[in-house]
Amino acid sequence: MKIHTYEKLWLGAAMVLIVALIATITYGAVGLGISMVDDEEETIDPDALDEDDRFNDPRVEHVGENEYEAYVVARTFMYQPDPIEVPANSEVTFYVTSTDVIHSFSVVGTNINTMVIPGEVSSMTAEFDEPGEYGVVCNEYCGSGHHTMEGQLHVVPEDEFDMTELEVEGDDEVAEDDEVTLNVSVENGMLDDLETTIEAEIGEETFEEDVTVEGDSTYETTITVDAADLGEGDHDWSVTVDDYEDSGTVTVVDDLEDDGGDDDE
């Protein structure tokens, strides 16, 4: 078979090019450790995500020093959780699944991008060095509202990041001869202990308690005050832990037959 010398030369150049392209990608995969979304995750029943430990409550979890896992559910036409919050200088593994059709989870302006297929879980690990706010879009057509499907990923500065959750249950109405109680629970989602102060205010009364909430646990405490000390009427209360605050109003009534019913909650 006769092939012109120039064409042989080009054939050689073309082969070199092809091998170079494969070599570059291999370097990225092996040298830089860029791995592909793959089949390492077990399949999942898309109709029963609420029975799944990871996806019944879409959230971010702290799993190790600077290591976080985000369990994300994509559905028409939203992401949960939204926004996803992680600290800077962290390594985050995203687990994303769909409960209906095929979506994508694409963090705009980054190389975090995956298809989200019902029945499969996409897992991707990425490192966030700097704080920043990213948009998340669905780039796979998923139905008539596809263009409205968006979310946010917030990478917050490390010192502003915590996973504290404050929840307070207070009485709405208390008889004057009874006690007003506030059940305070402080959840620490981080693995490290949380040293903080619970500050509470009811009417004129103030309370303060220094606490250490152990990693991945919830601290519960009850604050009580005699209703008589407050006196009849409405009294605002508030509880703060770091930057979190919960507040409400309690009504102290003369007797129970005075069913004043101005519930605030």
Partner: protein
């Protein structure tokens, strides 16, 4: 190469066949008109320059744009031009013209069915829609008529292929010792590729999607139908492209005033497409969960080697053009380019299409890269890429070829050559603006297939310039393309209304500098190449498909009728690794032996 002895036009020699080919081409142009109309609506809508439809209807428009252009326009043109190529190069009519009309009829019926399902999406009064886009990924579900229409259409193409094989067998009985004429060789290898590729979509529709849309089965495995789609979905891009390649090889050298540089290499190129087009589809699924990275890597190496036939084509075709230019008096390293017949719309269109394909080839290399896919996957970059390939390399070549074919098929001179030249240049300009801005926008992360890529919570950040500029560029390009389509259609209609002309060139292909006699006989052994192609497909697809079925069930996550235990699976994985390594080695070895064989 065999040529028509009589030296007349095609319609003089094959009046009955000319009618079929003409019908196929007109069907194709009707689809182009509709697809183009939907194209400009989309362009103006997504750039927010002019919106007159609701955004949820955008997806009906997009489905119609995709299906009409990449299925109807391209494939109707293909069957027309392939019929022309086979009959001309074998210098014999089809064996039974009724059979030819049968497959044309099936393709038309299939198109009408699918089109009805899609277009019904525009009105609420008919309870039918198929807003599933060209890819129809389950669990999105179309009306069963859409799937059935696709099946009927594909069966039509199968019969078309059978028609051409029949012609070739009949010809071979009479010419046992002759080499297959190059155009027929190209048609046959392309169709062999098509037969292998359509297995994927046939299984996907007949076994899963059609019964599912009819309510016979409850669920499907989305990864499985998606993988079967891409089993067909990648080779189909070569089904769009190879008719254009054929025209570049068999017509362009002649139009340039020269001869085809190498017939043997053209055969090698088409064989490589037959072998490598199908075992690469998983590169569309780089970012799919549920598919092992190893399978993705194999698909990538195959894809990268698939660059070879295109790179070879670039050399052979340009060298053939240069031969023409030098015979016309061209000189120098680059000066010969001036001696090319740029004022001929047939030449200018094909040459500009080839040039844009060189750019599309580059973005294709990026798409083929495995991990770099995180950057571009499903962004506007991807439509930017394929508007250069199917949207220009194929479409513009088809339009330019039409300026040659129409007079051959009608016996009438082209209505207006200047309009034709302006038309092809407008396409080039329009696509420059449109695809450039799409590529750029894709790099910013702007998604494809989205009615309103303007979001509430964040904005896309352009490094240089602004998103508004890119939108403007995109809309400008789209508008130029729309004008170009109007000019093209005007020329087609104008030509149809022309009177018969006696002054038309004969229906002939380019001659060759290095002919088939320079190539080993084994290149014409279609059985051998088909067998190797099938083996490669089995190697590339059997294990991914098994793994997908094992993970997600044949009919979706609920039912698991594929009882493979975990132990067998890990054993499978191990065997698979062995096989895939072997597959890569075989492929490499094969390519090497073919190439050395070819070079000697």
């Amino acid at each position: 190469m065999t040529m028509s002895e009589s030296g007349g036009t095609y319609i003089d020699n094959f009046p009955a066949e000319a009618r079929v080919v003409r019908s196929a081409l007109y069907s194709s142009f009707l689809a182009l008109a509709l697809g183009g109309l939907f194209g400009i609506i989309q362009t103006l809508h997504r750039t927010d320059i002019y919106r007159f439809i609701e955004s949820d209807m955008y997806y009906t428009v997009l489905t119609a744009h995709g299906v009409f252009l990449v299925v109807t326009f391209t494939i109707f043109f293909l069957v027309g031009v392939f019929t022309w190529a086979v009959t001309t190069s074998l210098d014999r009519g089809v064996e039974d013209i009724r059979f030819t009309w049968l497959w044309y009829g099936l393709m038309t019926i299939g198109t009408v069915m699918a089109a009805a399902a899609i277009l019904a999406g525009f009105t609420d009064s008919i309870d039918m829609s198929a807003d599933v886009l060209f890819t129809f990924y389950a669990p999105l579900q179309a009306h069963w008529l859409f799937y059935l229409g696709l099946v009927v259409f594909v069966v039509g193409t199968w019969l078309a292929g059978a028609d051409w094989f029949r012609s070739w067998w009949a010809w071979k009985q009479e010419n046992p010792d002759e080499r297959i004429p190059l155009p027929t060789f190209m048609v046959l290898t392309t169709m062999l590729m098509w037969y292998i590729a359509t297995i994927g979509i046939a299984v996907s529709i007949l076994v899963f999607l059609l019964p599912w849309s009819l309510g016979i089965i409850d669920s499907v495995n989305p990864t499985l139908t998606r993988t079967l789609f891409w089993f067909w979905g990648h080779p189909v891009v070569y089904f769009w492209l190879l008719p254009a390649y054929m025209m570049w090889y068999v017509m362009l050298p002649k139009i340039s005033g020269g001869k085809l540089f190498s017939d043997p290499l053209a055969r090698v190129v088409f064989i490589l497409f037959l072998l490598l087009s199908t075992p690469v589809g998983i590169h569309h699924q780089y970012l799919d969960p549920g598919i092992a990275e190893g399978f993705k890597f194999i698909a990538m190496t195959n894809t990268m080697f698939l660059l070879l036939p295109s790179l070879l084509t670039a050399f052979t075709v340009v060298a053939s053009m240069e031969h023409g230019a030098r015979q016309r008096g061209g000189t120098g390293y680059f000066g010969w380019l001036k001696a090319l017949p740029w004022r001929d719309p047939v030449f200018a269109g094909m040459a500009l299409a080839g040039l844009m394909f060189a750019a599309g080839g580059f973005s294709g290399m990026i798409n083929a890269g495995m991990n770099i896919n995180y950057l571009v996957h499903n962004t506007l970059w991807v439509p930017g890429h394929f508007h250069l390939t199917v949207g220009t390399a194929s479409a513009l070549t088809f339009m330019a070829a039409t300026y040659w074919l129409l007079p051959q098929l009608t016996g009438k001179a082209l209505w207006n050559r200047s309009v034709a030249l302006v038309q092809v240049v407008l396409w080039f300009l329009g696509m420059t603006f449109m695809s450039n801005s799409m590529h750029r926008a894709g790099l910013l992360g702007i998604p494809r297939r989205t009615a309103e890529p303007q979001y509430q919570g964040f904005e896309f950040e352009a490094g240089v310039g602004s998103v508004a500029e890119l939108d403007f560029q995109l809309a400008l390009g789209g508008a130029l393309l729309a004008i170009s389509i109007v000019l093209f259609l005007a020329n087609v209609v104008g030509t149809a209304f022309n009177g018969r002309s006696d002054d038309l060139p004969a229906n002939e292909f380019a001659e060759t500098l290095s002919g088939p006699e320079d190539s080993p006989q084994v290149l014409d052994n279609l059985k051998l190449w088909t067998a190797i192609a099938v083996v490669l497909v089995i190697l590339a697809y059997s294990f991914p498909l098994m793994s997908i079925v094992d993970r997600g069930g044949l009919y979706g996550p609920d039912i698991s009728p594929f009882p493979v235990s975990i132990e067998t699976l890990s054993l499978l994985a191990f065997t698979l690794e062995q096989y895939t390594t072997a597959a890569i080695a075989t492929t490499g070895e094969f390519v090497q032996t073919t190439l050395t064989g070819v070079i000697r």
